[in-house]
């Protein structure tokens, strides 16, 4: 019974791994987005799109368990995330790997220690095995040479890759990326896209990506959702390529074709 893809959880591939139903997000009285409904297929690359300030990052924060929705339901493999108790939620969150916008590496630790810490705290691996795992994860993102460097010694792109290695530390099955290519040059950005796709294929992970970098979205995403900043609700679903060519909403088409919205 050799498995081609890494085996994780129930084998059914048709059921979505993550669903939001009628979720409303708000900071106190300030509404961010309402009536969000979406389903992310297992193994897909799902894009969370929208203009600046529409609340994309807030949607991501709620999906990784940092912000409780004001209303609605968030299900992770059928399990109601916010109905679970704290302990269970921590267990569920261990299946997430998150690459924050600027890496969010712990600045008092070396890159290697950054990747090792989640394993030291959450697994029972011995030191030698953790070291081997750290080398593997840094090797996957091409950062092995920086294992003993501190985050302050790294460039922006290196911080992102080190952050990615840390996100991979616990072998997550859902990877979240917040603006992975923001602040990177086109070549580094394209390389990161390729890396993301390779990791998806290799690890069999589901990827949710928040971005407005169109070239990379067209390359990697095969499904997505578009949030509107004015009406504060999602107005389109579908892959970036589909939205660009076939979306009924002129504003979305304009965004995907990079036109100023009033000309559409």
């Amino acid at each position: 019974m050799a498995s081609d893809a890494p085996a994780r959880g129930p084998a059914s591939t048709s059921a979505p791994i993550l669903t939001l139903r009628d979720v409303t997000l708000a900071y106190g009285p300030k509404l961010i987005q309402r009536d969000i409904s979406m389903a992310v297929r297992r193994g897909s690359v799902f894009a969370v799109m929208g203009g600046s300030g529409c609340g994309k990052s807030t949607v991501l924060r709620s999906m990784i368990g940092l912000l409780r929705p004001a209303a609605g339901q968030y299900r992770l493999e059928g399990e109601d995330y916010w109905a679970a108790n704290d302990q269970r939620r921590t267990r569920l969150a261990m299946r997430f790997g998150v690459l924050f916008q600027s890496g969010a590496l712990w600045s008092s630790m070396t890159v290697g220690e950054n990747v090792a810490l989640p394993m030291q705290m959450n697994t029972r691996l011995d030191a030698a095995s953790i070291r081997a795992q750290v080398e593997l994860k840094l090797g996957l993102v091409g950062m092995l040479q920086a294992i003993d460097q501190y985050p302050s010694e790294l460039s922006g792109g290196m911080k992102k890759r080190a952050g990615l290695a840390r996100a991979l530390a616990l072998d997550p099955d859902i990877l979240f990326f917040d603006e992975p290519s923001a602040g990177l040059d086109p070549i580094t950005s394209a390389r990161l896209d390729e890396l993301i796709l390779n990791l998806r294929d290799g690890l069999g992970a589901t990827i949710i990506i928040v971005s407005h970098e169109l070239p990379s979205l067209f390359t990697i995403a095969d499904d997505g959702i578009y949030f509107d900043a004015v009406t504060k609700t999602p107005i389109a679903h579908g892959s970036p390529g589909y939205l660009r060519d076939h979306c009924g909403h002129p504003q979305v088409r304009a965004f995907m074709q990079r036109l100023p919205s009033n000309t559409a």
Partner: protein, 378 residues
């Protein structure tokens, strides 16, 4: 190695025909205590075997634990000149292996410096001298800007000064009150026990008055401010440094000395003497409460005694001291903030250093004042 009995990860290497065959079985996940390792010299090119195939028929669940192992196999095979038939691996594992570099990181040599006392002493001396120079420069710049401020030629914003004054003054009244009140009361207690033996209870007023006005009120207020405001300055500036806010100020042509340091130091210089006077008053109230309650001294008697005991020049002495303390605390904590590193830990270190240096420095300066006062005869 019997793999069928349980799901623990197992591997077995054998030569079949002209090839090595590596049989992988069990669950290869990272949740277990120890992962199997492949010895670096585990493969040797013999005439019999120049290639390696994998048998993954019994392989169960796996994640990066397996990739780590396969990487080690790959490295060992490479150094032995054996070709790997990666087609026999699951395709996703093949893809991940393709991403990995062809060699592991060379073990970083431990940077271990030999301790040399002479070099250490020299380095320490140079550092101290440089630091003294920087602090002097900072002091003169700030003093120069202070002098120009009333003429309106210094580029300090009044708003910043007011915000700092508010933080250093009114917002710290409560803690200054509590500490000085209790200190006055404690001194009165200590004095009362001794003085009552000589039926000289009313002299408690002299004891509390002179001790607080001359030394304690100024020193205690300064220590409170070193902990409260000095630490805050250092942490704030260190955080700004980490966020490149200081760099942005410099680039925008806004001198750090007049935008950040001057209002901070000036706010302390303005508020500290006032807090000192306030502290004196509160401590005398604390002393009088104890005296009236324990020694049956009348309140009027306590006040008269205090007025006669504390000459005006003692107030001037304490007042000047608190200005010096204020300047010292403000300048050192700003300087410590400015030279902090850029990480989160460095902010904590800067705050700690500012408080420690502030407290120690205040006490050291106070003893210097005591010596001077003794020589001058105040």
């Amino acid at each position: 190695m019997d793999a069928a009995s349980d799901s623990s990860p197992n591997w077995q290497l054998e030569i079949v025909g002209e090839r090595y065959r590596l049989t992988l079985s069990g669950d290869w996940t990272t949740q277990r205590g120890s992962l199997p390792r492949f010895p670096a010299d585990g493969l040797m090119a013999t005439r019999a075997a120049r290639a390696l195939v994998f048998d993954t028929g019994l392989l169960g669940q796996w994640n990066s634990a397996l990739i780590t192992f396969l990487w080690e196999v790959q490295l060992a095979a490479e150094s032995a000149g054996i070709t790997i038939d990666s087609e026999s691996l699951p395709s996703s594992a093949r893809k991940l292996l393709g991403l990995l570099p062809a060699s592991r990181s060379p073990q970083a040599p431990l940077r271990r410096h030999k301790f040399n006392p002479v070099a250490a002493l020299g380095g320490w001396t140079l550092d101290s001298l440089a630091e003294l120079g920087i602090l002097t420069e900072l002091t003169t710049t700030t003093a120069w800007n202070t002098l120009r401020a009333p003429v309106g030629r210094s580029r300090m914003r009044g708003v910043d000064l007011l915000a700092n004054v508010r933080d250093a003054g009114p917002d710290s009244l409560l803690i200054v009150s509590i500490v000085n009140f209790l200190l006055g009361a404690i001194l009165a207690f200590v004095g009362a026990v001794q003085l009552e033996k000589f039926a000289a209870g009313v002299y408690v007023a002299d004891l509390v008055g002179i001790a607080m006005v001359r030394e304690m009120a100024a020193v205690m207020t300064a220590i409170i401010m070193a902990g409260r405001t000095g630490g805050a300055y250092a942490a704030r500036i260190a955080t700004m440094l980490g966020n490149e806010e200081i760099d942005a100020l410099t680039v925008s042509g806004i001198p750090v000395s007049s935008y950040i340091i001057l209002p901070s130091v000036l706010a302390l210089i303005i508020t500290m003497p006032l807090l000192y006077l306030y502290g004196c008053l509160v401590s005398m109230i604390g002393g009088s409460v104890v005296a009236v309650a324990m020694l049956h001294v009348s309140l009027a008697g306590y006040v008269t005694q205090t007025l006669g005991a504390v000459p005006f020049n003692q107030f001037v002495f304490g007042f000047i001291k608190s200005i010096v303390f204020a300047a010292y605390i403000g300048l050192t904590s700003c300087r410590i903030g400015l030279k902090a590193g850029r990480s989160a830990a460095d902010v904590g270190i800067a705050a700690t250093r500012a408080v420690v240096l502030g407290v120690v420095g205040v006490i050291a300066i106070d003893s210097l004042f005591a010596v001077i006062a003794n020589a001058v005869g105040i």
